[in-house]
Amino acid sequence: MVSQFIFLGILTIALVLFGRNAKKIYNNIKLGKPTNRTDRKSERLKQMLLVAFGQKKMFKRPFPAILHALVYVGFCIINIEMLEIVIDGLFGTHRAFAFLGSFYSFLIYSFEWLALGVLLSCAVFLIRRNLGHIYRFQGRELTKWPKTDANLILIAEILLMSAFLTMNAADYKLQQIGAEHYIQAGAFPVSQYLTALLTDTQASLIFVERFCWWFHIIGVLAFLNYLPLSKHLHIMLAFPNTYFSNLEPKGKFKNIDSVTAEVKAMLDPSLPPPSGEVARFGVKDVQDLTWKNLLDAYTCTECGRCTAACPANITGKLLSPRKIMMDTRDRLEEVGNNRDKAGNIQDDGKSLIDNYITREEIWACTSCNACVEQCPVNIDPLQIIMGLRQYAVMEESQAPASINAMFSNMENNGAPWKYAQADRANWANPE
C-alpha cells in the first residue's frame, strides 16, 4: 500500500512538472509570427508518416539509420511495457498483462530483443560520437553542454535498458524457484543469460527485481522531465514538425506582403500609400520568426547532418546551419525566461542577430538548400538566415560593399553587373 502511494506521488510530480515545462515551450513557440501550415492536410499527414514515422530521410546514411531505427522502434514498443509498469505501480499488481498468456510471452520476448538492440545501438553511438572522428560530431557549436547532453541521453538509455533486462532476469529466476507473487509469465530470450550473474537467495533476488523496477520507472520519468531541457525533444516534436513542413518547392522564398504594398504604391502614384503601423522587415530577434521556425529550433536534435552538407561549413567558413538552430533556441529560451520573470516581453538589449548569430555567418550562406534537404525532421535553417539578411539589408542598410554595388547596378542598369541596359541584346547581333 505504501509503495502504491509513493508511486502515485512520484508519477504525479513527474507529470505535473513535465506539463509545466511543455506549456512553457508551447508559449515560447507562440511568440512567433503566424504562418499558415494547416492547409493540404492529407499531404501533411503523408509527410509526417514518411519522414517522422517512416524515418525516410535518415536512410540517406544507412548505417546510423539502422541503429537509430532500432532505438526508435525499441523506444516506441517498450512503451507498451511502460503501461503495464504504471498499472502495476498504481494497483499493486505484478505483471498485470500476464493474463494475455502466450501473446504476453510474445510481447516480453520482443521487448527483450528490442531492449538489447537499443542497448547495443546506444553503445555504438557513444563510441562513434566520442571516438569516431566524425565531422558532424565536431564543430565549434558543440561546446561542453551539447556534448554532455548527447552523452547523458545515450548513457540514460543504456542504464534504462540494463535495468529492464536485469529486472526480467531476477523475475525469471524468482519464477523458477516459485517465489510468491512471481507468476509464471513472459519469455526471456536475452535476460536468461543474466541469471547466472545473480544471487540464488530469494530475498536478494526480490531486492534486485524491485530495485530495477523502481530504477526503471523513476529513470523513465526523470528522462521525461529531462527532455524539455535537452536536445532530445525531437522524439516528440519530430511528428508535429514534419506535419507542419513547408510543402512548396524549396527554391520558393515567400514574398513579403508589406513590401508588395509599398512597392505597388511606389510604382503607381495613384494608389494610396499603405497605412497603419509598418512592421519590421526581416528578422532581428526570435519574435520576428514564424512559429514554425521556433518549432524547428525546439525539434533540432543537433545531429549535424545539415552542417556536414553545408558548402560554407565544409570549406571552413563560420556558418553552421546547426548553430543557427541552436542559437535560435537558446535566444528563445532567454526571451521566454525574461518574460516569465517580468510578466511580459522585456527589451534586454540583446537580439538574435549579433548577440547570437554574427553577420559573417549569415553572409556565408549560398542558399543552396543542402541543410534543408539533409534534415531528417524537415527543419529549415535557410529561412532564418534569409530573414536575418533581410533585416540587415532593409532595416540597417548593412550589406557587404560588393552586395550594395550589385544592388545599385540592378537599380540603374537592370542587371547585377555594370553593363548598360541598351547592350543587353548585343550578343544577338554579332557584327
Binding site: T315, S367, A370, A425
Partner: protein
Amino acid sequence: MGVRGIEIKKKTTMENQLHIPTVAELMAKGESPEILFWVGCAGSFDERAQRITRDICKILAHVGLRYAILGTEENCTGDPAKRAGNEFLFQMQAMMNIEILNGYEIKKIVTACPHCFNTLKNEYPSLGGNYEVIHHTQLIQSLIDEGKLRPDDGHIFKGKKITYHDPCYLGRANDVYDAPREILESLDVQLTELKRCRSNGLCCGAGGAQMFKEPEKGNKDVNIERIEDVIESNAEIVAAACPFCMTMLRDGVKVKEKEQEIQVLDIAEITARANGL
C-alpha cells in the same frame, strides 16, 4: 582538342544565318511567340554564357519553334537581390518584368538560368505573373522525346565519360534531376555520377548572391571542393546547366590546372554539337 576545333568551324557558318527575333518585332508583324526565351543577365552579358545562349537559339530555330526574346526590354528577375535580403529591389524588378510579360501576353517561358527559372516559376505568381516556366534542359528533353532533335550518328560525345553537376536551383530547389541526365543518356555517353549528386549535390559556391561578393574567410573555396569531386570522377567533360555554375566550375578547373583534361560544357552546348548545329 577536336571538340573545340569543330565548335569554331560550325559557329562561323551558323551564326551568320541566325536571326534572333524579339517579341516587339513579332508583335509588329502581328505575330506572337509560342515560347519566350528568357535569356537572363549572365546569358546576355557574360561572354562564356553568351555562347550557351546562342546554342539555345540554334536549337530553337532548328526545331522550328516560334520563339522570341525580350531583348533590351528584359530586366534582371531580381533573384540576387532577393537572396541577398533586398525584398524591395526584388519586388520592384519583378513587377516591372511582370508588366512587360503580361503586356505581351506571354504564356510560356524557357530559360537557361536556374535562378531565373526558380524566381519566374515560384516567386512571380503571387505578384501577378503567372506563366508556364521551363528550364532549357526540360525543353531539350521534350524535343528529344518528340523526335525533333536527333543527334548525328557519329557525334563527338559518343562513349565519352561525362559527369553532370546539379545546379541547386534546378535540383534541390525544384526537383529537376532527370531531364539533364536523360539528355546525356540519349547521346550514348558514359554518364558517371559525382560523389555528391542529385539531392545530395554540392553547391558550386555561387548561389545566394555569393556570385557578387568575395567569400567569407575559410580554408577553401566552394568551387575547389566541388571540382575535386569532378576530378575524382575521372570524367573528361563536366556538364553544367547554369551560367553561374559554369563560371565557378571553369574557375575550379583553372585553379587545379586541369584545362587539358576536363572541359566544362552546358547541356545546351552538348546538345547543339551532337546535333551538328
